[in-house]
Amino acid sequence: MSPFVKFENVNKIYQTGYVKLSALRDVSFEMEEGEICVIVGQSGAGKTTLLNILGGMDTLTSGRVFLGDKEISSLSKSELTTYRREDIGFVFQFYNLIPNLTALENVEIVTQMIKNPLPAKQVLESVGLGDRLHHFPSQLSGGEQQRVAIARALAKRPKLLLCDEPTGALDYQTGRQILKLLQDQSRQNGMLVVIVTHNSALTAMADRVIHLKSGTVVSVKKNDNPLSIEEIEW
């Protein structure tokens, strides 16, 4: 069985004027379906760039990226949009909910776009927000907002859930709850969840840990015995 996600010698060079900045250098790795994959590294290590490329938000300079049989690196701008729309679920550090929509509506905005979504209400209930469906983001706590964001990502049955520092703006306890939710979703639905973080403590919960440093992959470790969130302390 071929790997679900595959990076092959990916390079990304940002050019501003005469200054060339190499964000990713010859990055290659693979991910399997149903895994929780944690990408870890310091600020400026290239985590976000990697996430952007994988999420179809940015293009690469050279190399190839695959998701399933789809070569993402060869997609056009509009195909990338379709890719984002149908295959990817995003969870942002700052939730990025639309302030003018209720929790339910923030999910529905996504479910309306695609063909076979999960019912929004059901997803929200599954993330434990069954009683806050009609609250606006400003009326929700940070954790609740992130749950809404996760529900929004899950509702479209993504092939890949990308999370960018999902706990970055949350307190410890809430962060744990969110991570638990992500872990549960991965386990229940067999969905590939990629978590980008600078917190190496989270590596313990991952099936696979990719360590980035200065734009290169330092190590790819397979964790045969991932811990559940309850077991992790940081």
Partner: protein, 1094 residues
């Protein structure tokens, strides 16, 4: 504050401007628009008034016109010019029919050229100098008229003809007159009722001995229409009126005195004439008497002559008898005499015969002897003897031979003689001779006897002849007498005839004399009556009516004031609206800017910058934009608004070009309002943020909470709306200020376009309404003279195959005088009921009946302006003095011109003269109006045929000039819409870049993203533009209410297409802005969404 001005601060601010240039520009633009609109509209009146003021003071327009029904004299002028603070000048004006070289004669108003007041503005040529030169109206004559001649038509009445010193005047110049500010030239009592143009002639060109008016100009200069000027005028007016009344009374006295003197002169003359008449009459009677006596004498003479002649005839008959007796006596005597003479003569004859026989025998015997020659021989011998003896006697010597010879010869001769004597012959011969002598004696005796007889006879004869001649002369005398008598008779006859003739002549003369006396008597009686009449007339001489007219009674001056105020009226509301939008634009922009920069503000505060310094940055930002916008707006607005509006009015006034004014208070006010709308608004709306504590500022601002909108509580509707729309709706309602800004801006844009187009609709459509529903006739035919009933019928019959209707009307121009207002109006009078078929009298779609006797229908515009309603009384005048009051029966809709309709009978009753049907309104049966018009113009007495279509085209062209204003307003509206929509979108995009990035990440396609952003604009555009349609209608109503063009009434109307165009314009602007900002959305980086909130 020193810190504030350091270079870093300034640099920071300038960079800020550069970085957010679009926003900056939006503020500049909206302030420029507001200021431009405000200052432009505000200044227009000032500019118009200043233009007029300059013109008026350059040409020294009069302040007062003094008129008197009795005319004004040089003394009057001197009286007024002697007053302090016044310049006065006498002027003459006379209306006359002029022959200007085209087939149509026109009425011109001739003015005397005045040097000090009402100067002329010569545009072409030069000023008239000689009496027979003139300067002509430049509005109605072109340069080609220079050098041509204006003739005083012979159709003028005598008074008019007498008022001019020349028969024709050479055009030397074309000019504007300050007396005529617009195209209106006034009314006249002459043919047509309308003055075509003015003409200025030097005073020498007139031959009148009085002035028709005195022009007065007050010293000092006050701006036209200004309060000071009005005060001054009303203050002076009273005094002038009083003075003028006094002068008028003096003039009246003069005239009365003069008339009295004339009457007394006439009386004296009459008396003289009467005396003369009497003298003449006596004289003539005397003469007649004498003539009669002479005739009597002549008759006696004739009788005497007749007697005489009869006597003469008697005598003549006697004479004749005597004569006849004498003649008989004479004839007897003559017979006697002749018998006696015959016997005597016969006796004498017989004796003569005897004698002759004797003589004959003797002579024959003697001849026998003689024939023998002896006698001769004898004679010779005797002679020879004699001569020889003579010789011998002389010879003294008888012995001489000679003597002897001669002796011998002598002897011989003597011997021969003796021989002859011897024969006896000689004796015999001697005897014979003796016998002959006896015979001769007998003869002599006989002759004596004869002579005696002859003498005796001659005596008798002469006696007879005497008798005869006496008889003859008697006869001649008788004849002569007879002739004389005849002549006498003839003469007598002639005398008789002469006498008869004399009698006749005498009788004629007598008759004639009687006639001429009665005539003279009649004449005298008439003269006496005239004198009496004149005396009565003196009593009737009207006292002078005087009028002091100021400029407000000048049509051009008065309408200029109202026309120039229109713009001011409009300027009251529109700019407020612009400034409101400007304030909202500023507020939203600056609020957004402060929101964006709250961290920076907090940092700066933390670094120790004062609140003032920080607030200063934003105040500088918006304030500098406002100053810039204000300058741009002021410069453009105060130039192009007056320009465009002046252009629009140019067709009415056009006496000079617009003068631009710089109004310092207005500029200051504009600047103040702009700063208030920008810096002020900035301060107020950002005060909260700017004064917060740094700690609060450094923390991200809590996003504005989402809120449910009212609509959500109506699930039936809300649930049908897709989420994206819900977002838009919620967004729209989230930022109320932005919502108002945008809706107001867009509504403003739409409403301005609606109002501007509506202006065009209202104005353009009056042309259609006027000519399609009101004046439905095709031709206005004017005739050279009033048409009689027969003539009208004949005309209608003649053209019955080309005209479906033909209504004869009497038209005249009057001035409606009501509440200090003067309005021009046409009076149309006819008794033909078909008038309603060619002129539609409607009000609000209802047909009105034609006014009945004694009433008139007037048009709505006129009624409105003078504030009258049906049943009220309208006052009009058709000359300077007579006022006529008419009851209004109804008010009808009419757009161009003011009209009073009435019946011919009403006209006659009110105006005191018969309606003269010199015009006809006709409707064509045929399509080709011009061929029919050509046909009509050949009709009897037809002078001109004007095709209404021409008028329509002319009015159409007139209306085109308003397009300037329409386009200017539409351009401003577009700019307003653009600025507002652009600003809204710009703010929305920058503010929601994060949200946009998020939805992009979530997989919104480009189109979906754009519509996510622009939907809001579109919804606002829809709301704003539909609101704008309503506002536009209101605005249009307001503007139409402000617009008053003399004699033209506009029907407030906006066509559907105008609404549609306004919507399209607004949507096009939205579309344009969206297209421009699409790239900006595309440029938003999705990675943005991953960043932290600033």
């Amino acid at each position: 504050m020193v810190k504030m001005l350091n270079s870093a601060w300034l640099k920071n601010n300038l960079r800020e401007i550069k970085r957010t240039f679009e926003r900056y520009l939006a503020i500049v633009a909206i302030i420029a628009l507001g200021v431009g609109f405000f200052s432009g509209l505000r200044i227009t009146r000032a500019a118009m008034v200043k233009s007029l003021d300059t013109y008026v003071s350059d040409l020294q327009m009069y302040d007062f016109r003094l008129l008197s029904t009795l005319g004004l004299t040089e003394e009057d002028v001197q009286y007024f010019s002697g007053q302090e603070g016044i310049t006065a000048e006498g002027a003459i004006s006379v209306d006359f029919i002029a022959d200007i070289g085209v087939e149509k004669e026109v009425v011109l108003r001739a003015h005397s050229i005045t040097g000090k007041i009402n100067r002329l503005n010569i545009l072409y040529g030069r000023m008239a100098e000689a009496g027979n030169e003139c300067v002509l109206d430049s509005r109605f004559f072109s340069k080609e008229a220079l050098g041509s001649k204006i003739r005083i038509a012979s159709t003028n009445d005598e008074d008019t003809l007498g008022a001019f010193a020349y028969k024709e005047y050479t055009v030397v110049g074309l000019a504007n007159s300050v007396n005529y500010l617009n195209y209106e030239r006034g009314t006249t009592s002459l043919a047509g009722g309308k003055v075509y143009a003015f003409i200025y002639i030097p005073e020498d060109g007139f031959s009148v001995d009085y002035y028709t008016e005195i022009l007065v100009r007050l010293d000092g200069s006050y701006e036209v229409y200004s309060g000071e000027y009005k005060d001054l005028v009303s203050e002076k007016e009273e005094a002038l009126k009083k003075d003028l009344e006094n002068r008028g009374a003096l003039r009246y006295q003069d005239i009365v005195e003069e008339a009295r003197k004339k009457v007394s002169d006439a009386e004296k003359e009459y008396d003289d004439a009467y005396e003369e008449y009497l003298a003449e009459k006596a004289d003539a009677e005397e003469k007649l008497k004498k003539a009669f006596k002479e005739l009597e004498e002549a008759e006696q003479e004739i009788r005497k002559q007749e007697e005489k002649l009869k006597d003469a005839e008697k005598k003549l008959a006697e004479g004749e008898r005597d004569y006849k007796k004498s003649l008989r006596d004479y004839e007897n005597a003559l017979n006697e005499y002749e018998t006696e003479k015959a016997t005597t003569m016969a006796e004498l004859e017989s004796r003569q015969k005897e004698l002759q026989q004797n003589r004959f025998s003797v002579i024959s015997a003697m001849e026998q002897i003689e024939e023998s020659g002896i006698i001769n021989q004898y004679k010779e011998l005797t002679e020879a003897i004699l001569s020889l003896e003579a010789i011998l006697s002389q010879i003294n010597n008888p012995d001489s031979e000679e003597y002897i010879t001669v002796q011998g010869q002598l002897n011989q001769a003597r011997k021969a003689v003796a021989e002859i004597e011897a024969t006896g012959v000689i004796r015999r011969y001697e005897e014979l001779k003796k016998t002959l002598e006896q015979i001769d004696a007998g003869q002599k005796e006989l002759d004596n006897g004869r002579e005696e007889a002859n003498r005796k006879f001659a005596a008798v004869e002469s006696q007879l002849a005497q008798a005869k001649s006496r008889l003859d002369s008697a006869k001649a005398q008788i004849e002569k007498n007879r002739q004389d008598i005849q002549k006498g008779w003839d003469a007598l006859e002639k005398g008789k005839a002469d006498y008869e003739k004399g009698i006749k002549e005498y009788e004629n003369a007598k008759k004639e004399a009687e006639k001429s006396f009665s005539e003279a008597e009649e004449e005298l009686a008439k003269a006496l009556k005239e004198i009496n009449d004149a005396q009565e007339e003196i009593e009737d001489i009207p006292e002078a009516k005087v009028y002091v007219l100021n400029r407000n009674q000048n049509m051009g001056y008065a309408s200029f004031e109202s026309d120039s105020s229109i713009v001011e009226g409009v300027s009251k509301i529109l700019p407020i609206f612009f400034f409101l939008v400007a304030a909202l634009v500023c507020s939203t922009t600056m609020t957004r800017m402060v929101d964006e920069q709250r961290t920076q503000i907090g940092t700066l505060k933390a670094l120790g910058y004062s609140d003032g310094a920080i607030a200063g940055k934003y105040i500088f930002y918006s304030g500098s934009a406002a100053i810039l916008g204000c300058i741009i707006g002021y410069l453009l607005g105060t130039k192009y608004f007056p320009f465009a509006i002046w252009e629009a009015y140019n067709m009415i006034y056009g006496f000079s070009s617009i003068e631009y004014v710089f109004d310092v208070p207005l500029a200051a006010l504009s600047l103040m309002v702009s700063l208030l709308c920008s810096a002020g608004v900035t301060f107020i709306s950002c005060k909260a943020e700017l004064l917060q504590m740094p700690a609060q500022l450094i923390r991200p601002k809590a996003p504005r909470p989402g809120k449910r909108v009212l609509l959500e509580y109506i699930p039936v509707l809300w649930n049908r709306i897709s989420f994206l729309r819900k977002v838009s709706i919620r967004n729209i309602l989230r930022y109320k200020r932005r919502f108002f800004m945008t809706v107001l801006g867009i509504a403003g844009c739409t409403s301005l376009v609606v109002a501007a187009l509506g202006l065009g609709d209202s104005i353009r459509n009056i042309v259609n309404d006027q000519f399609d529903t009101i004046m439905t006739y095709d031709f206005d035919i004017s005739f050279s003279e009033a048409q009689s009933k027969d003539e009208m019928e004949k005309f209608i019959r003649t053209f019955s195959d080309v005209l479906s209707e033909c209504v004869f009307v009497s038209t005249g121009e009057v001035e409606v005088v009501q509440n200090d207002k003067i309005k021009k109006a046409s009076v149309v009078a006819t008794d033909d009921p078909a008038i309603t078929k060619v002129i539609g009298l409607y009000l609000n779609g209802e047909t009105l009946p034609y006014p009945e006797f004694g009433k008139a229908a007037i048009n709505n515009r006129l009624a409105e302006e003078i504030g009258l309603r049906p049943g009220d009384t309208i006052t009009v005048r058709n000359n300077e003095y007579d006022m006529i009051e008419i009851e209004i029966s109804s008010i009808f809709e009419n757009y161009i011109g003011n009209y009073l309709f009435m019946t011919g009978e009403t006209y006659e009753a009110l105006f005191g003269e018969e309606a003269s049907y010199k015009n006809a309104y006709a409707v064509s049966k045929k399509e080709d109006l011009y061929s029919v018009s050509a046909l009509l113009s050949k009709g009897e007495n037809v002078v001109t045929v004007s095709v209404l279509n021409d008028l329509r085209i002319m009015v159409d062209n007139m209306m085109q000039s308003l397009n300037y204003i329409i386009w200017l307003v539409i351009a401003c509206a577009g700019a307003l819409g653009f600025v507002v929509i652009y600003n809204l979108n710009n703010i929305n995009i920058t503010e929601r870049s994060r949200e946009i990035a998020t939805i992009k990440v979530l997989g919104f396609y480009a189109g979906e993203t754009e519509s996510y952003v622009f939907r809001e604009t579109i919804i606002l555009t829809v709301i704003g533009s539909f609101l704008g349609l309503g506002f536009g209608k209101l605005l249009h109503e307001f503007v139409m209410d402000q617009i008053k063009v003399e004699a033209v009434s506009f029907k407030e109307r906006i066509f559907g297409t105008s609404y549609l165009i306004a919507l399209l314009v607004t949507f096009a602007i939205t579309f344009l802005v969206n297209m421009m900002l699409k790239k900006k959305i595309d440029r938003i980086n999705m990675a943005e969404s991953l960043k932290s909130v600033e």
